[in-house]
Symmetry: C2
């Protein structure tokens, strides 16, 4: 029996009852002979409450102080969790990100882990303790300031610790049963995926699936740490994310041709209209965007109209970055030399992901046919080796997702309602 | 202009408005040319809320985890305070106890400061920052675990930092105007004390005055750091606590014969009845008490009755320790050999404090006369060089305090109501 890292999200430890329930589950793993390291997020709404307080005292809180503030959240949940475990008769010690050796760069609010030196965790484990570690936080290498890892950071903490401690598995406990072939709120017949390869999971995460974030999966792939996404409310097997297919009983789970359909309505589309079709134009557009520190997603350039020598360049980006991008482009207007800018935040993105599409030439055609049959108009297309994404009107997204899900045979046969976001099991 | 340490209690930073008000005051000190270090407690009820959560998950929370939990409180208030100061256009950085170099022993929940190494605070100040430090917390020297200093710990943090940084003064901001000649809730005519010597303040603190705790004053005296206790709600001068009298305008404030009257109704009295009057009896009683880690206050032994050779020994102790003490004595009954135990928690203690009583022989007599005139019966008496304390019925305490306060000419001439616990000025 090896070392297991378990991560519990805020909804699993939302109140004292939740903490006690999670404590029991942790103790079970320990009783089964594992060394157990637990990464925990802040309780339920704590983070939102702290953000609200910050906004009351300052409209633009300093990044350093914001991180100092937010990290109080995990401090509370981890100490309570350690107490609850001790109350069950097992020894536990809690550690801040800094104490656990989570070393990051100095970019407050979205720091990156650059090293993990879990000496104190090793010692605690060797002394027979369950180690509880604050997710989402670390300490900067140069200034020794407290940092946070940004959205989904606790998952990354868990995977990084699992890698540094050479864990058998990193279990991500959440309020859903695993990763599904589509968002069950949109597709009632979505199925839980038993196993998915790192590559497919990366594409799903990049395409809007919210169960695991891209960064966390990327980390797990780099260090080859199997992730097991499962519900903290049930004892069911969830979704395994790893390099090689898992065994289920006597059988190996087969690699699916198509892993799932993801969608994302959090993006907007910017079109730069009337760009001179000559070398360096695209570069100057995306230099302006990059200098404004805006992350973009899809980029499409249409063929230029022969008559004008002008072309249009479109790209998608998070809606929250829209203002910044437009401002940056307007500022660089003279350098770039475009006609006008169009901003459209009523778009949605639908992506079909599957390693099998590399060797199944009919996938792309089938995808477009399904959309067409559903009467969905396509505005942009972008593909990778194992993913096809299209941009459509936001309103069309639910119907488009359902149509594609059915067309690729992903619908569940069972009439049972899928458990999603439930707290009953 | 030198370095000033300011400490703000939980009631001063109870909400966002309080934090913004305190931020303004801090910025004023900075504008006046001071280097400013601020020690802050947890906001209002935060600590109580965290204790409540701990009780929900575990009836006997581990000391280490309890400290980890509680220290989240100051983390929140200090980060918010730093944000609020930045919002006023001044640079500020917050530091945990550990980051500020507050090194303690390993006794969780009531750790003692054993060293302060404020290198990061110095650097922050030298770079022009206001430094905000979490009160009440430190890090243990041996295990590097987070510790808390116990009740009133933030005051001690402030004084310890003031000593380590060689500050001009340690300002303790609170919700009262300073130290009074008696508790203004009991004595309407109590006066604010302009200056009081460390020794007198130590005796007042030990006798039930709650404005400053004994430990903090002791620390300040050892390192000769003047303390200025004042209201965070007004701009008034408060009470100076120091070695030498302060100047007020052209005049030195004179040392008063009597500093004030303190009272305490938090103690109980234990009487060990029928103790053989022979050497070693008292020792075995107090060894049993000490082994149970019970702190006692006054001890009185009556003259033994010649007929029986038995005597009674009484002592007072915090009510919260009563059960432990009785259990310890019952257990040691055979060794000690007493007749019975009496436990009385309906007592009060009244103390008269003043360095002047050393050279004014009439003080003791005047004290007893005042109590007698008020019809108050005395049960125990104990004295030091600059203090007389008596134990009476708890019901008699308010009347007794008022009588003594008047008899020693401490009553204020003014008809103005004393501000106490107010938030209006």
């Amino acid at each position: 029996m090896g070392l297991v890292v378990q991560k519990y999200g805020g909804s699993s430890v939302a109140d004292a009852e939740g903490i006690k329930r999670v404590a029991k589950r942790i103790v079970e793993a320990k009783k089964n002979g594992h060394q157990v390291v637990v990464v925990v997020s802040a309780m339920g709404d704590t983070t939102d409450e702290l953000i609200d307080l910050a906004e009351q005292v300052s409209p633009m809180p300093s990044g350093r102080e914001f991180d100092m503030l937010l990290t109080a959240g995990e401090r509370i949940s981890m100490a309570l969790l350690a107490m609850a475990i001790k109350n069950l008769g097992h020894s536990a010690q809690s550690f801040t990100g800094s104490q656990a050796g989570v070393i990051t760069d100095s970019v407050h609010n979205k720091a990156r882990i650059i090293d993990v030196t879990p000496g104190r965790i090793r010692t605690a484990l060797d002394e027979g303790n369950i180690a509880i570690v604050a997710g989402f936080q670390g300490v900067s290498q140069d200034k020794k300031d407290i940092t946070t890892l940004g959205r989904g950071g606790s998952d990354t903490t868990a995977v990084a610790l699992a890698a540094a401690l050479d864990a058998e598995v990193c279990e991500i406990y959440t309020d859903v049963d695993g990763v599904f072939t589509a968002d069950p709120r949109v597709v009632k017949k979505a199925k839980k995926i038993d196993w998915i390869a790192f590559e497919d999971m990366l594409e799903l995460a990049a395409s809007g699936s919210k169960v695991l974030l891209h960064r966390c999966v990327e980390y797990a792939r780099r260090y080859n740490i199997p992730i097991h996404v499962r519900s903290s409310f049930s004892g069911l097997q969830g979704t395994w994310v790893s390099n090689a297919p898992i065994q289920q009983g006597d059988q190996k789970v087969e690699q699916a041709i198509i892993s799932g359909v993801a969608h994302d309505t959090s993006e907007a589309k910017v079109t730069v209209v009337g760009v001179p079709d000559k070398p360096g134009e695209a570069a100057s557009i995306f230099r302006a965007i990059a200098d404004a520190e805006v992350n973009i997603d899809m980029v499409v350039q249409n063929v230029s109209a022969a008559s004008t020598g002008l072309t249009d360049i479109s790209f998608t980006l998070p809606k929250t970055e829209g203002r910044k991008a437009i401002d940056a482009l307007e500022k660089a207007r003279n350098v770039i030399g475009f006609d006008s800018l169009r901003y459209d935040d009523q778009i949605g993105k639908i992506s079909l992901v599957g390693a099998g599409m590399k060797t199944n030439p009919g996938v792309t055609a089938g995808f477009f046919e399904a959309l067409s049959d559903a009467g969905v108009n396509i505005e942009l297309i972008s593909t990778s080796e194992i993913r096809i994404s299209v941009v459509t009107r936001a309103d069309d997204v639910p119907e488009a997702v359902r149509a594609v899900h059915t067309a690729f045979g992903l619908d569940s046969d069972s009439d049972e309602a899928v458990v999603y976001g439930g707290t009953g099991r």
